[in-house]
Symmetry: C2
Subunit: 392 residues, 2 copies
Amino acid sequence: MISSFFPPQRTLMGPGPSDVSPRVLGALARPTIGHLDPLFVQLMDEIKELLQFAFQTKNELTLPISAPGSAGMEACFVNLLSPGDKVIVCQNGVFGGRMKENVERCGATAIMVEDTWGEPVSIGKVVTAFDQHPDASILAFVHAETSTGVCSDAAALCALARGRGALSIVDTVTSLGGIEVLADDWGADAVYSGTQKCLSCVPGISPVTFSARAVDRINNRVHKVQSWFLDMQLIMGYWGGSSKRAYHHTAPVNDLYALHESLIMLQEEGLEATHQRHRRNHEGLVAGLEAMGLAMAVAPEFRLPQLNSVLIPEGVDDAALRTTLLQEFSLEIGAGLGALAGKTWRIGLMGFASNERNVVYCLNALEAVLDGQNAAINTGVALPAARAALKR
Amino acid sequence: MISSFFPPQRTLMGPGPSDVSPRVLGALARPTIGHLDPLFVQLMDEIKELLQFAFQTKNELTLPISAPGSAGMEACFVNLLSPGDKVIVCQNGVFGGRMKENVERCGATAIMVEDTWGEPVSIGKVVTAFDQHPDASILAFVHAETSTGVCSDAAALCALARGRGALSIVDTVTSLGGIEVLADDWGADAVYSGTQKCLSCVPGISPVTFSARAVDRINNRVHKVQSWFLDMQLIMGYWGGSSKRAYHHTAPVNDLYALHESLIMLQEEGLEATHQRHRRNHEGLVAGLEAMGLAMAVAPEFRLPQLNSVLIPEGVDDAALRTTLLQEFSLEIGAGLGALAGKTWRIGLMGFASNERNVVYCLNALEAVLDGQNAAINTGVALPAARAALKR
């Protein structure tokens, strides 16, 4: 017989999921009510409003997709693309590659703009791509690359798309709640995210927002959306006004309790204070890592405060180190992904997990384990450096 | 400012979600761990094994899709169909219509076999459909129609498909955990379900199982699966053996804690005892309803014990009655759907909610509200009749 599962209390400092606050876990476990219950419909309306705040948008079509971030990505592509379309896809990490897959599975063509992993999307290359493919109808890019820890210039890229008469699809899975996401100011057309990163909610839900221009394109489609589950016209009917709600699927009721609570926490702290906290803890971590003698993988001006890519020093056993951190410190940090596997660690400071305690705990643990592996690091200096930076 | 949401404690006797046991809610709220954590990988393996038990199958490809039942349905269709295929779709309620949508969005043709809502799928009509379309490569049908409360003969339909060289896709969203589901004995090829019905777990996850024949068809596809998120070859890679797991999406960690716990409860009670409990409580409810003078909408031999369709008596205000039940008794029962809207109620006795207390509570509440509307019912007789039936 299989018995009940009691997970340990981890400190989650990988690329996500991040630590979920007890307040959000408490909301998650409240009694399930029906998805057509008038009280639940009110909750849905509040979630829409809170997501508009998080995305900094007035877009009416702003709601959580009932599935993880990769389904949110797919929702953007299948609703805005039709067979034969040309899409400029920027790739500077894993997730641009996934966008390409999505484009091709819609029967459209992906024009790839490739940048080195660890660097941001080059605006100049995107300009060239539009020059060569003036009929491209969509520009897709990742704002905060989870695989590398790099931030690209979303404002410039969205403006470029608009200037060329194209719509923009923006991945903010790792940025939302950690750094500025300004859907309206950017003029972004379709933006998707995930709940398990800087929102510090449980994994499984994908907030999305679509501009009026994007909604126009959806409403004027000739081909039916290839996914029934992700068809935004049907989903709009389900999430629309209370009076005219049409059954589509059964919403993940409890996950939405949790999302609601995590968004209230964001609202309470305020966006600016939240972003400052992420910035400060990032600076503390980097000061400690660099004092120890470790090097960051990304140039300072492109670093994401919530996801810190660190170069693995020569001679260190990557897998053994992460296993020791997990087993002896119950601390999870992330491995490198794709081209960076074995070359970097990814240390997350996301949402609820972005706090001084975690900065200190992680530096302590890393120092102990690296020292145990006889790595050439400076000991005893990381904490003072981190604490000095945290006090600035 | 929007404030925290505290849902009331409902009694959920609609078509789902059903009441979730405190034990499952407790599991749901346990601390989130990483989706690549070795302990989580073990949990995934246990869930696969528990789902094999629930579906009564040895199919290796048995796992939960990280999205609601409608995504589970779509996963079956997009992985097994290719453009140009012919699919025989049985429709005797809402969900056959949704299957048709799925078939068409795959670029395939749906051959519809229609039966009256409230009646089971006619085997004879399916035989005729295969005679007329011997090249049909798939037969799709709903085992337990949630919109009508009718059970169809899954064993006969799967055998028929096999005899004609076609694969079968079976919707067991409302049946799994409530009545017998015998994936292997039936010879079913793709079976999907939901967590929020007789498994009494939170909504949002869709267990699926694929036969070896289905896996063969998936592995021999020429066209890529149109959905990246639901591509079973990628999902297999993620749910495969611990050693060779490939990142696909981030699993909904906490929802899977809950599913694991709900499946353990099913394992503890045993399938036969679970089905008997559903049967007994159904008989108690029906005895009470009929004593009151209400009539069931489905012939006895086709009734689902977990979903009881009741004809709304003449002159009763359907919406007002359900609102009063919800507001004064915190009791949810379901409205009729589609062709049966305004004509039936759907009273669920699913999973954890299938208990004597709920039978009695629902009969009491219905009697009080119907009497308050001056409906022509027999008062004071429902409970004795129900209790007698429950004791049998």
